[in-house]
Symmetry: C2
Subunit: 408 residues, 2 copies
C-alpha cells in the first residue's frame, strides 16, 4: 500500500555505539507480534525530546516529561497496541509501574526511564503483560536491534520505517540511525507519532535540544495524513558521544551545521515515510506555498489544501479538479488576499496565472500530473518572500475502511 516506500533491509540499519535495543512480545497486539521495545543509552549520553501539544496528552507523555526534568534519561520503554491515553489516574499509575519494571531490571532510578505508548485510546494498559517481559528484554539489549525495534513500534503501519546515515565529523565517522511509526491520527503539532533517532556523535545537551527542534520544523512538523493530532506524539533524539569527535557545543559551527543537516534529512525521510504509509494512501503529495507575507500564512494555506477532503478525494481519483485547490486557497483565512497575485501549479503545469485561469492549461496536462503517484502542488501568493511546505497523502476508500474497522 505505501507509496514508493521500501522496507529497510536489516543490514542497512547501522548500530549506534552506546545505544542498545531489545524487543519483546507482550501479547498486547496479536499473539507473536513484537509490541515492546526497550532502548538503553550508555551513561553520559544526552537525550532531547518533543511531545504532542494535544491538551489531552496521554499518561506516558505526562510521565516522560516529569522524568526528563528530574533526571538524565537512560532508558526508553515503548509499547505499541495501547496508547494508555484517556485512562486518567489509573493510566498514570500504569505508566509508573511499567517504568519501575525497567528500573528494577536495570538497577537504575525510575526517573531515568521514559515511557511511550501508541495504539488504541481509552483502554486500560495491560501492565502485567508488559512488566512480565521487561526483564527478558533488558537482558537481551544489543546495538544491532534497530530492525526488530522498527517493526515492534508499528500499529496500523503497513511497513517499517527506519534508515541510517553516516558522515565524517572531526575526522571521525558518525552514525545516525532513526525509526518512526504512524499512519493515522497524523498531524504532529510538536513531534510526530513516535520517532526515535540516535547518534554516536558527541553533542552538548543544549545543542541537541535545539537541533531536534530545528529538524522537527522541517520534517515531522510539516506532515499530515488526516489533521488529527495524536494524544501520544513524541520524538526523541539520543546522542551517546561514543564516536570520538570533540563535543559539539555550538550549532552554528561547521560540524554543528553538518550534523544538523544530516539529522534534518533523516527526519524528513522518516516523516515522509509516515505519509507514504498514511492510512489508505495511494499518492504522496508535496504542497509548497511561496511568496507569502509570513511563513505562518504559507503554512496555513498549505495545511488547508492538505486537509481538504475534496482535494484529497480528487487526488485519490487522479482527477485534475483544480477548482477544489483554488477553493481551498480561497478559504484558508489569509487576511486581504489579492487574487490577482495568486498563481497555482500542478507539478510544473500552471493552472491559475495571476488570479486568472491559465490560458495555456489543458486538461490533458493536468491529467498527466495527477496520474503520477507523487504529485506536487505549488501555490504562489504574490505578496512576499516567505515560503513553507507540507507533505500529505490522498484520501481513499481504504482510509474509511481502516478507520471504520479499527477496533472491530
Amino acid at each position: 500500500m505505501a507509496v514508493n516506500l521500501a522496507a529497510p533491509s536489516p543490514d542497512s540499519l547501522l548500530p549506534v555505539a552506546g545505544i542498545r535495543l531489545a524487543t519483546a512480545s507482550a501479547g498486547i497486539k496479536k499473539p507473536g507480534r513484537k509490541d515492546v521495545v526497550v532502548i538503553e543509552m550508555t551513561e553520559g549520553s544526552h537525550c532531547a525530546a518533543v511531545y504532542t501539544q494535544n491538551a489531552f496528552c496521554a499518561a506516558p507523555v505526562l510521565l516522560a516529561k516529569q522524568h526528563q526534568q528530574s533526571s538524565a534519561s537512560r532508558y526508553l520503554l515503548i509499547n505499541s497496541g495501547n496508547a494508555n491515553a484517556g485512562t486518567g489516574e489509573a493510566g498514570m499509575q500504569a505508566a509508573k509501574d511499567c517504568c519501575q519494571a525497567v528500573a528494577d531490571a536495570a538497577g537504575v532510578n525510575v526517573s531515568t526511564v521514559l515511557p511511550f505508548s501508541t495504539g488504541v485510546i481509552g483502554q486500560p494498559l495491560p501492565v502485567d503483560k508488559i512488566t512480565a517481559v521487561v526483564p527478558e528484554a533488558c537482558a537481551s539489549l544489543a546495538e544491532n536491534n534497530w530492525f526488530s525495534a522498527a517493526h515492534a513500534i508499528m500499529t496500523t503501519d503497513t511497513i517499517a520505517k527506519a534508515r541510517s546515515v553516516q558522515l565524517e565529523l572531526d575526522g571521525k565517522t558518525v552514525t545516525l540511525t532513526g525509526m518512526s511509526k504512524g499512519s493515522g491520527m497524523i498531524r504532529p503539532d510538536m513531534a510526530t507519532m513516535l520517532a526515535y533517532v540516535a547518534t554516536d556523535a558527541a553533542v552538548s545537551q543544549a545543542v541537541l535540544t535545539t537541533m531536534l527542534r530545528k529538524a522537527m520544523s522541517q520534517s515531522f512538523n510539516r506532515i499530515t495524513v488526516d489533521g488529527d493530532t495524536s494524544t501520544n506524539d513524541a520524538c526523541v533524539l539520543m546522542a551517546s558521544g561514543q564516536a570520538g569527535n570533540s563535543e559539539i557545543s555550538n550549532i552554528s559551527s561547521e560540524d554543528g551545521a553538518r550534523l544538523l543537516n544530516a539529522l534534518t534529512d533523516l527526519c524528513r525521510y522518516l516523516a515522509q515515510a509516515v505519509v507514504r504509509d498514511g492510512e489508505g494512501a495511494t499518492k504522496f503529495i508535496a504542497i509548497s506555498v511561496s511568496e507569502g507575507e509570513s511563513q505562518e500564512e504559507c503554512r496555513m494555506v498549505a495545511y488547508t489544501i492538505a486537509h481538504s477532503p475534496l482535494v484529497k478525494t480528487a487526488l485519490f481519483a487522479s482527477d485534475p479538479n483544480w477548482g477544489r485547490i483554488l477553493a481551498a486557497v480561497g478559504r484558508s483565512g489569509i487576511h486581504e488576499l489579492d487574487l490577482s497575485g495568486v498563481s497555482i501549479f500542478l507539478g510544473d503545469v500552471c493552472i491559475v496565472d495571476q488570479g486568472q485561469p491559465a490560458a495555456s492549461y489543458s486538461e490533458a496536462q493536468g491529467q498527466k500530473v495527477m496520474d503520477g503517484a507523487e504529485i506536487a502542488i505549488k501555490v504562489q501568493l504574490g505578496r512576499g518572500d516567505a515560503e513553507d511546505q507540507v507533505w500529505t497523502c490522498d484520501f481513499s476508500y481504504d482510509y474509511v475502511k481502516i478507520n471504520a474497522e479499527y477496533r472491530t
Copy 2:
C-alpha cells in the same frame, strides 16, 4: 440516503404572495433535468443576502454584490450544474450576459437581477444554453412553483429541501417558504451553498438584513459536511410586503421577534436538511459545547470534532471510539484548557467525567447511542457560561466515492 429527511410534498410548499418563480431545462445538467430558476419579487419588495467569504468567490457572487449595492433587486437567476467559479474575466462577462437576458425579457435594468450559480468549479458557463431558456422562464412565472424550483437548484443533493411555515402577525396570516441546496463542499462561512427564503410579511430593509444575519448564525453558519467552504455560497431573504401587516421596522418588537423566530426555525430546518443529505451521510450528528469562556472557543471545539476524519469514520462505523472525540477536544487549540473541568457525553451517556474516564461508563451504553441514526455529542469545558453547537454528518465510503467520481 438522506438521514431522516423526507422530500417535501408539492402541496406543503405554500405560495408567497408577490414572489413568482419559474424553472427551465437549459441542458447544463443531464438532459431533461431542470437546471435554471428565475425568481421575481414584486415591486416594492425588500431583499437581503449574505455571500461566501471564500476569497476565490465566483463571478456571480461578485456581480450579485455589485448589483445589490446599486439597485433594489427584482429578479434572481439561478443555474445549477456549473458554478462559474475560477473562470476569471470570461466568467464575469458570462454572468453579466445571463443577467442581461433576464433584464431584456422582463423589461428591467440589468442591475436589478442577481445571478447565482452552483456546480462544477473551473468550467466555462454555457451562457447560450441559459439565455436561450430565460424568455420562456420569464413568461411562465407563477407563485406556486417552489416545488419545481427546489428540485432545479439541486446538484449532488439526493433530495429536495424546502418547507413552508405560517404565523399570525398583526392579525394577518404571514407565510414563509424557503428552499436550500447543498451536499458537499459544505462549511458555510457566511451563508450556505444556496438558500432562498421568501415571506410576504412587510419588513423594513434594515430589519430584513439584520434578521437574515441573526437567523444565519443559528442555522447555515453552524453546519459542516466536510469543512470545505464553497466559492458560491449565498443565502437570500426576500420580503414582498403583500401580507397586509404593518411594516416591521424594529426587530425587537413583538412581531419582529416572532418573525425572526419563525425564520430561524425555517433556516435551521433547511440547514440541517443539507447536513442530513450530506454526501454519503448515514448519520446526523449534533455537537454541542457548553461551559466555555466564549462562544468562539465553544464553536472551535465543536468544529474540530465535526471535521475530524477519525471521529467521522468512527460515527460511520457506529463505533463508540470516544478516544477520538477526546483527542479532537484536546487538539482544538483552546488556550490553557484544564482537563479536570472537561466532561464529555455521547447522547446522555457520560464518557469523560471531569477529565477522568467515567466510572459508570460501559461500552454497551456507548454502543447503544452510536447505533442510532441521530447522535448527540456534548462537551462541557468547565470554564465559563458560553455555549454553541454545530451539526454535521458522518464520513462514509460513499463520501469518497461521490467525490472521487464527481466529474467522471
